[in-house]
Symmetry: C2
DNA sequence: CGTATAATTGATAGAAATCAAGTATCGTGG
DNA sequence: CCACGATACTTGATTTCTATCAATTATACG
């Protein structure tokens, strides 16, 4: 891993990074500032690197590139839990357990900034609204995991793949308003298989089917959805739609603390 | 569903209920009081009732009995996501999405108390430490879900069942210190199957194997672990161990708010 | 005591893993 | 610029696991 001198987050990247939190409510400038205040040192990793292994409790805010959290199972096989895009906070689930169950890996070259657990505590003490937003995003992740688990247990591999493609497109559209039916998707077939719990060989057959039925194509690290309606039909999932919570603490911290 | 007049939470039940939050740090009396302040009306449900369906955003604190959150898949089959025991907060993931993905159901007759999303906001504003604990528990749930997902994708049905039994025993031990190798476990074989993604028929075969190999037995809604070492070996998971976070906000709310 | 629900067992079918072998693609160094 | 090696992709044959179907027995409950 290489450490780069911390640079200023420029506007375009900054927008990407807050896109996730801003999905629930509009952030006002002071909150963006609080968020930036979390920013620690910047790190760069190369594709394949381990960003945070199972025995660490560090947190990272993903700035650029794709990452994933993965669970290594006893027999050596690997399950990818989530693909992460810029704006995602990496490592939160590990805060609760002595030995985090997941390893965070870089799927492409990535840039991240470190966040210490201590700063999370600060946020809860002094930026309740920001803390509540992090809480909400964790609940969203939980909901997404629940959907994944349900599909894994009850649906065919083709259904799981279709749902994965849809959710990926929706997530990508959050950080890039221009995302339409076609977008950058750097995972190998093997990695896609690890996301839905099939082997690389079988993933190849599934992609062939989607291609031949004119539903979706992956070519040159680019995913193109050709027949969205059919994809939705196969996936059997509804478009992901966030709540608009009315119960968040007010934007200003309630008191300027001593 | 039947609504009962709110009763005082007696000591024994109270201990059960805070056991989950108290797993990370000792709660001091003022915090327990804050927690109790969340308590809304008490409700009772019968086995099989829907406590909260997919289109609601209510929260409940489970006081007594077993519940589960379930995702209904397109084709009508059902995946049970988690079995919940007293002390669990039900419905949190639904806060983040317009249409919650899960339905909360009663696996036995249960008692719950209602919590409104509004009160969650209050906790973030005025009880940062309590909020941080709810946050931590959500991260623990996420970690547990990640483990479940990994097992679902990569492990055999027998491995998944073994891991389920172990995690169930650990969770049960949290609320009942006396839990040893044998404890109350009211799920039917079909429901156990819905937890690990197999049919009731196959679950029957799996339980037969565990029984004949002298590893674990279910009889009369009682689960008995006969050979814990072998169960751990098959499950391939480590004992669940929580972190001891040092970064939580201080026990007293930082300021007595207007 | 009868009825509904749950558990059990055996036979067959289907989905995906595994095994094996070959082809394409890409980055890199000569 | 091309050759090489590594990684990724593709395809077919076989095996394994789990679902489905069908029928029977046990258990719980009113």
């Amino acid at each position: 891993m290489a450490i780069a001198p911390g640079e200023e987050i420029n506007d375009e990247r900054g927008r990407k990074v807050i896109s996730r939190l801003a999905g629930f409510v509009d952030l006002d400038p002071s909150e963006v500032q609080q968020l930036v205040a979390l920013a620690g040192r910047e790190y760069r990793f190369e594709r394949g690197d381990i960003i945070r292994s199972e025995n660490e409790h560090d947190l990272y805010l993903l700035i650029d590139g794709w990452a994933a959290s993965a669970v290594i199972v006893e027999d050596g096989s690997r399950q990818l839990i989530t693909a992460n895009l810029p704006g995602d906070i990496l490592g939160l689930p590990g805060l609760a357990v002595r030995d985090p169950v997941d390893t965070v890996i870089a799927l492409t070259d990535v840039e991240v900034i470190g966040i210490s657990p201590r700063q999370i505590g600060e946020a809860f003490a002094h930026s309740p609204r920001l803390a509540a937003l992090m809480f909400l995003i964790s609940q969203e992740e939980r909901s997404l995991l629940m959907e994944r688990l349900a599909l894994m247990g009850q649906a065919s591999a083709l259904t799981r793949l279709s749902a994965l493609i849809l959710r990926m497109q929706e997530r990508h559209a959050q950080i890039d308003r221009n995302t339409d039916a076609s977008f950058f998707m750097p995972l190998t077939q093997r990695e896609l298989g690890e996301l839905i719990g099939v082997t690389g060989v079988h993933m190849n057959a599934l992609l062939k089917e989607l291609r031949e039925r004119g539903i979706a194509v992956i070519k040159a690290r680019k995913l193109t959805i050709l027949d969205r309606d059919e994809l939705i039909r196969i996936a059997g999932v509804s478009p992901w739609c966030r709540s608009s919570p009315s119960w968040l603490p007010c934007p200003e911290p309630p008191v300027e603390v001593r």
